[in-house]
């Protein structure tokens, strides 16, 4: 035993150090993923007997208009949420100055990310509230008739995304601000001597150096868009008549909410959402792996 340990100590030690994390990861992430897949083949109300129904949940899903509404909203979320990346970059560049009190301004811009998503949702719900909300009043002033954004199936998803963008832009901004701190001043100096300025400076000198920050910003924004749940739950609970649902909320509704007793169906939605996320996550991992091996 001890001779084996002595001979292989260097080889085994890393695995021992990794073991606690790997065990946790297996128990709380890997195994539940497979359990979800397993449950998605059952008809189960969470209480009684689970009945094996094969792929019936997926067949139903393929034919479920609510599912497509949620899926469509997820795509809208994904596309519009990515606006946080250029918007955050823009603000970060504006804020990257050396004037008196700049730290205070930066922290004020970062403020929306500090407050809870639930609070963000409530604040925006009040902005949109029919009767007294400022946005409602504004539309009343401009169009004569007020529009309650959260009560209108045409605008509701965009209204929620706007609320989500507010903290997300702040987050992306802080990522870029730290990135800008690490931009090499000598390269900027050299570029300036070569006559680069304005857009060309940004595009050819600054942005390439911000690539790691951009990568992280895109990753957190994509994941953030796909797991959008809290804002939908707080602001509309998926309404009006289900038009602002996203996949994660639909999954919750089917499996866990007051009117949901369909664990199998909810699990099937979870598996589909997992599949979509996997496309992006494996893309990101592949890119990271490529960057590391190229080095």
């Amino acid at each position: 035993m001890s001779t084996y340990w002595k001979a292989n100590q260097r080889r085994l030690a890393p695995w021992l150090f990794l073991a606690p994390g790997m065990i946790m990861f297996a128990i709380y992430v890997i195994i539940p993923i497979f359990q979800s897949m397993w449950i998605s083949f059952y008809d189960w109300d969470g209480l009684g007997e689970a009945v094996w129904i094969g792929t019936a949940n997926y067949v139903e899903l393929a034919d479920d208009p609510e599912f497509y509404t949620s899926f469509k909203n997820n795509i809208i979320w994904l596309v519009l949420y990515l606006l946080a990346v250029p918007a955050g970059l823009l603000i970060a560049i504006f804020l990257n100055q050396t004037v008196r009190g700049i730290r205070l301004y930066k922290s004020l811009f970062f403020f929306p990310f500090v407050i809870s998503q639930v609070v963000v949702g409530l604040i925006f719900t009040w902005f949109y509230a029919p009767g007294f909300g400022p946005i409602f009043k504004l539309t009343e002033l401009v169009f004569g008739q007020g529009t309650a954004i959260l009560a209108d199936d045409r605008y509701v998803t965009y209204g929620i995304i706007a609320a989500g963008l507010w903290p997300q832009i702040a987050y992306v901004m802080i990522l870029y601000l730290t990135g800008l701190n690490n931009v090499a001043p000598d390269q900027v100096e050299a570029a300036r001597l070569d006559g680069a300025k304005g857009w060309r400076m940004l595009w050819y000198v600054i942005l390439p150096q911000l690539r790691p920050a951009t990568f992280i910003a895109v990753v957190v924004t994509v994941i953030g868009a796909l797991r959008s749940f809290d804002l939908v739950s707080i602001m509309t609970a998926g309404g009006p008549y289900g038009s602002s649902r996203v996949l994660s909320y639909y999954m919750y509704e089917q499996a866990l909410s007051e009117y949901g007793y369909r664990m199998g169906y909810g699990a099937a939605i979870a598996v589909v959402l997992f599949g979509i996320m996997m496309v992006f996550i494996s893309g990101f991992i592949w890119k990271m792996w490529r960057d590391e091996t190229e080095r």
């Binding site: 109300d45 969470g46 209480l47 009684g48 139903e60 208009p65 949109y128 509230a129 029919p130 009767g131 007020g146 309650a148 954004i149 959260l150 009560a151 199936d153 509309t236 609970a237 309404g239 009006p240 008549y241 289900g242 509704e253 866990l256 007051e258 009117y259 949901g260 007793y261 369909r262």
Partner: protein
């Protein structure tokens, strides 16, 4: 040294024995509930009375957040079951009864003559000919209205549905919403549907519909929505973004005249400044003449889970809660109606008196759409009602969708 150790051991043993002796003195009765602050206080008083009557029982009440309880109950019934648990009557308890999670308490009904004293609630507590719990309170639904808004619009309190609809034009002229509702949480819209359905086609038809025996594309369903369409233009706009409390505020402010609501809303109206002089109540008016009048009266209930350890005392507690005097006291504190017909309601509360009268003379009582229909149907239905009140032109598509859900939900 040795002596000290022995002494400490003896002391420990004495302590252990005394605590276990104390625990043996009182039999623990674990009760999980989901009370808001006012009901919680009322039930704490009830438990004090129960413990005074049964000194050897110690009721341990664990209160949950009202919404969180709906999820929690599914976990604790299977894992760490209490001896008593709150829930609701009608189809809402069916999943637990069918999964064998609630105990049959027909013997409690039998031994205490509850079939007679709780007659009005018996049907909603019965599945497969057995009773699965005991109701302790219910409340009426109906139309609450702002008398000042009626004056401002020059409208008379209507006696018939046609008068109600005619009034809506007057309210519109006065820039007042004839009927208000806040459907963000979906269920308030179901209250309107229930009454449209109960008044257009009657209780038996409505129960058949919620039991899945009638197609949503049936002509009689369309009749219900045809009546509803008459008042649809006069319902508060943007109700899909309003909570029910927001709509109550509109009525308090005189911006809306009528509100189809449960009696629990009276607290909100009064907190907003309305009094017995300005707040009115009427039963929902008759639509199809000659149909026996049925009402919505959601019933709150207590059950004994199958995993209960102290079943004898739990049954004692159920019998206690069903008692007429106990229900009188409890419901006075709750400002709700007792389910025991021998109980009384406080004479100085006109809304409780009117509700008690209305319910005791009713032909039958429905629970509420989301308790009468199974969960999946209820959710889809309430979304459909909300959509209808926003876009009545989508009716055919809505009914098609509900019919598709019906095909799945009642398997």
């Amino acid at each position: 040294m040795v002596h000290k150790k022995a002494g400490a051991l003896a002391l420990m043993a004495a302590l252990l024995m005394s605590t276990s002796a104390m625990a043996q003195d009182k039999r623990e009765l674990k009760y999980f509930a989901d009370f808001d602050p006012i009901p919680l206080a009322a039930f704490e008083a009830l438990i004090v009375d129960f413990e005074a009557a049964n000194p050897d029982v110690d009721v341990v009440l664990q209160n949950f957040d009202h919404e969180g309880y709906k999820t929690a109950i599914r976990n604790f019934l299977t894992t760490d079951s209490p001896d008593l648990a709150n829930w609701y009557a009608g189809n809402r308890m069916a999943p637990f009864v069918n999964a064998g999670q609630f105990q049959d308490v027909s013997d409690v009904w039998e031994a205490n003559g509850l079939s007679d004293s709780l007659a009005s609630a018996k049907a909603s507590m019965t599945i497969d000919g057995k009773q699965w719990g005991v109701p302790y309170t219910y409340y009426q639904w109906g139309i609450y209205f702002n008398k000042d808004a009626y004056k401002a619009a020059g409208a008379e309190v209507p006696a018939t549905w046609d008068e109600f609809v005619a009034n809506c034009e007057k309210f519109k002229a006065a820039n007042i919403d004839c009927l208000t509702v806040g459907t963000k949480a979906l269920w308030p819209g179901a209250g309107i549907f229930d009454y449209m359905s109960l008044r257009t086609n009657g209780y038996e038809w409505h129960m058949d519909l919620t039991a899945g025996k009638i197609a949503w594309t049936d002509q009689k369903v369309k009749d219900v929505f045809a009546q509803w369409a008459r008042i649809q233009p006069f319902i508060t706009a943007n109700h899909a973004a309003l909570e029910w409390e927001d709509a109550a505020a509109l009525m308090v402010q005189g911006k809306a005249a009528n509100y189809v609501m449960g009696n629990f809303s009276v607290g909100n109206f009064k907190a907003g400044g309305m009094t017995n002089d300005t707040l009115g109540f009427m039963p929902f008016p008759e639509i199809t003449p000659g149909i026996p009048r049925a009402e919505d009266a959601p019933t709150d209930t207590i059950h004994i889970p199958s995993g209960a350890k102290n079943v004898d005392d739990a049954k004692l507690f159920l019998a206690f809660v069903a008692d007429a005097a106990v229900q009188t006291k409890l419901n006075t504190a709750l400002s709700q109606l007792p389910t025991n017909k021998n109980s009384t309601v406080p004479a100085d509360d006109p809304f409780l008196v009117a509700g008690f009268e209305m319910l005791s003379s009713a032909h039958a009582l429905a629970q509420f759409f989301d308790r009468d229909a199974p969960a999946e149907m209820a959710k889809a239905g309430m979304e459909g009602f909300q959509e209808f009140m926003v876009k009545p032109e989508n009716l055919d598509a809505i009914l098609e969708r509900l019919e598709a859900v019906r095909a799945k939900a009642y398997e």
